[in-house]
Symmetry: C2
Subunit: 126 residues, 2 copies
DNA sequence: GTCTGACAACTACAAATGTAGTGAGACTCC
DNA sequence: GGAGTCTCACTACATTTGTAGTTGTCAGAC
């Protein structure tokens, strides 16, 4: 049950970068986030360190002596945890109102609707 | 577009209490939250004041001189804002993966599934 | 050998959040 | 009319978050 660490908004962006491609060094992460966030390299380093402290990331020493970072928790696990928090907080834990909310408030394509309906059917039979 | 104030986790509980029934005095809110949160009355007062500052709540002086609090923003509005934040943060703004996630990870009754499918159809025709 | 430029480690600091305590005025009940 | 009781407005204080700056080291470039 490896309790999932609490990941803040900014930290989430770091995690995304590493879930997408890892391991990466601090400066690689910084470089890839710079366009979207404008963060100074040190900011990224701080966030990386905090995530290591929280055990959301692991590091490994690579031959050249610099550290590389890689996720210690799977994205799916974190998504699940965040989703639960959100669900509890905003919808009082009731998933159906949440589904209703998003089904009403977002535009979906016919294909997407088809796929969702299929999933709903599978849900029933599980 | 009445930008929605940022409401923290604890504050959200206060808002819920007032969305459910308002206006209420500080001590009424405190009393109703005590069982679930264990908060001291002053904690509730502080949170109420912060919410008034943020314009999430309004107050009105009632005859006896004590203040009562009531929401200044509709629950639906806040839910929408929180949902968007969450969607952007965790699902990169894509609603369909979110719907998939919740459709797969929650148990629904046959009725609920039926209703959701109906909504999905309406979504298509809108 | 020294200068340069990454990298790591540590420190900084304000705003937001969670969770209260204190002091002062008003009201209430003997 | 003094002693509790409510309320309110202020103040407090540790943590977490966002966003860096500073210092020291080490490896190549020259």
């Amino acid at each position: 049950m490896a309790t999932v660490p609490d990941i803040s908004d900014s930290e989430w962006l770091i995690m995304e970068a590493l879930w997408e491609s890892s391991p990466q060094t601090a400066s690689e992460v910084a470089k890839s986030l710079r366009p979207s966030t404008g963060w100074a390299e040190n900011t990224v380093r701080t966030l990386l360190s905090r995530l290591v402290e929280k055990s959301a990331l692991k590091t490994s020493q690579n031959p050249s002596g610099t550290r590389t970072f890689l996720p210690a928790v799977r994205r799916e696990t974190c998504v699940r945890a965040e989703s639960k928090t959100f669900l509890d907080r905003v919808f009082g834990g009731a998933a159906q109102p949440l589904l209703i909310h998003f089904a009403q408030n977002t535009k979906l394509t016919a294909d997407e609707v088809r796929e969702l309906k299929k999933l709903l059917d599978q849900n029933l039979n599980s």
